[in-house]
Amino acid sequence: MAPIIKVRNLHKRFKDPARRGEWLEVIHGIDLDVEPGEVVVLIGRSGAGKSTLLRCLNFLEEPDDGTVEIDGVEIQAGEHSRERTRHIIDIRTKAGMVFQSYNLFPHMTALQNVIEGLITVKKWDRDRAIAKAEEELSWVGLLDKRDEYPIRLSGGQQQRIAIARGLAMEPKIMLFDEPTSALDPELIGEVVEVMERLAREGMTMVVVSHEMHFVRDVANRVIFMDGGVFVEDAPPSVMFTNPKDENTRQFLTHIL
């Protein structure tokens, strides 16, 4: 099967906040293929480039070099055109994203959050959008909260609604950027449960997370990143029992 995500020679530089005029290469020439239905988890120290890589996949971060291809839509780094902007929007509707701090729209109820993309981006009529949103809300177990504003919901509930908001767009892949890091420990389980269910239903997922429970039970591949490159790429069983790289080994002793 052809990979649904294809990344070639990806580079991303930021201005170094510590040294003026210097550049910091956060992504250092990465290649990545993800097959449909695969669940890939990126692990590594902070600053390793995990989140940046994830955000380059839907162009929230503009890569400096390389190509990203998602479900047949290919985009080169650096060029600028009207057509490219359309392609980026195309990729973003194919790739749902879930953020560490949920980022629900606070001026909208749970239901309004979920129908927003369908109505504004996909131009669905309201009734159809509401039907779809109710389906997604009940899938994450929060249909009874449809008319609540986000501020009245717990972190775990907000994150589940954020997942429903992404899923309503019927994406081909889902990107998760540390989805449980901001949650109180007792709320992590309900979010992980939803993600596990999503993986079982065959969703292609790229996840930045150190939630070991999820990584061990759900991931097909674990990638250890360091200094903007992939150091080790293996199934969790191999990664956690027999890592090849000394650096990986050291990191794993910290999180296991």
Binding site: N58, F99, F105, I151
Partner: protein, 261 residues
């Protein structure tokens, strides 16, 4: 606040009014004269409200455009907006009013001399009320541009990212996600501006618009009873601002949805 404190507060207010009444008495305020002209002054309120209501509408529009231009990456839009805000905030409102009322006709004349058609030149000779509305709109638009810019910038970056990740365009993101949230934040300062505008609308009296202040000074001067009529005008302004403050409070309460736990 406990009961006793409220009572003391009320007493202070009563005392202030008693002192004022005694002062007016000592100054030999002509009460029948005041009452006699109150109706005449009251008719000026219509102009005051008309000028400030239309001006606030235009200034909000200008501010919105100004703020979006200021935040855009387009150097022309950005430059125009920064110039606008800097120039208007850096010059007296009175000078701006006169520039529009007295200066613009001169521009029209020069254009005509350069061969422009007469109707174009006539467009630059604005009657008093449109002049006043234009001056107030431009002036308040500049101040509010900064308010709107700050409001838009105060919305967390994650909101924009969430909207874009759903596939929204920059414009859709601004309209659907950023502006509705920014609007709620700028309601209190814009409300304050509206109240200030109501009072600054008295500037148009300088151009002979028969609004509240114009009427008070005109009649007051003729009979040497300015203090009386200015007091009446002041009370009218005061009542209007109190009403506006109440409305502002209600609006803020309504827009507070989604904020309260």
């Amino acid at each position: 606040m406990n009961r006793g404190y409220v009572l003391k507060l009320a007493l202070v207010w009563v005392a202030i009014f008693v002192v004022l009444a005694i002062t007016f008495r000592l100054l030999e305020f002509d009460l029948p004269f005041m009452l006699n002209w109150t109706g005449f002054l009251f008719k000026g309120i219509g102009y005051t409200i008309l000028v400030s209501a239309i001006s606030i509408l235009f200034s909000v529009l200008l501010a919105l455009i100004g703020a979006l231009a200021r935040l855009s990456k387009n150097p022309i839009a950005n430059g125009l907006s920064t110039f606008y805000v800097s120039f208007i905030r850096g010059t007296p409102q009175l000078v701006q009013v006169y520039m529009i009322y007295l200066g613009l006709p001169q521009v029209g004349q020069s254009l005509e001399a350069l061969g422009a058609p007469g109707w174009l030149a006539d467009l630059f000779v604005l009657p008093a009320i449109p002049s006043g509305i234009l001056a107030l709109s431009i002036n308040y638009g500049a101040y509010m541009t900064e308010t709107f810019r700050a409001g838009i910038q105060s919305i967390h970056e994650g909101q924009r990212e969430a909207a874009l990740s759903l596939g929204m365009t920059q414009g859709q993101c601004m309209r659907r996600i950023i502006l509705p949230q920014a609007l709620r934040i700028v309601i209190p300062p814009v409300g304050n501006d509206f109240i200030a505008m109501l009072k600054d609308s008295s500037l148009v009296s300088l151009m002979g618009v028969m609004e509240l202040t114009w009427r008070a000074t005109k009649v007051g001067r003729r009979y040497f009873r300015s203090l009386e009529l200015l007091s009446v005008a002041a009370i009218f302004y005061w009542i209007m601002t109190i009403i506006l403050q109440t409305v502002q409070g209600r609006v803020e309460e309504r827009l507070g949805r989604g904020r309260k736990r």
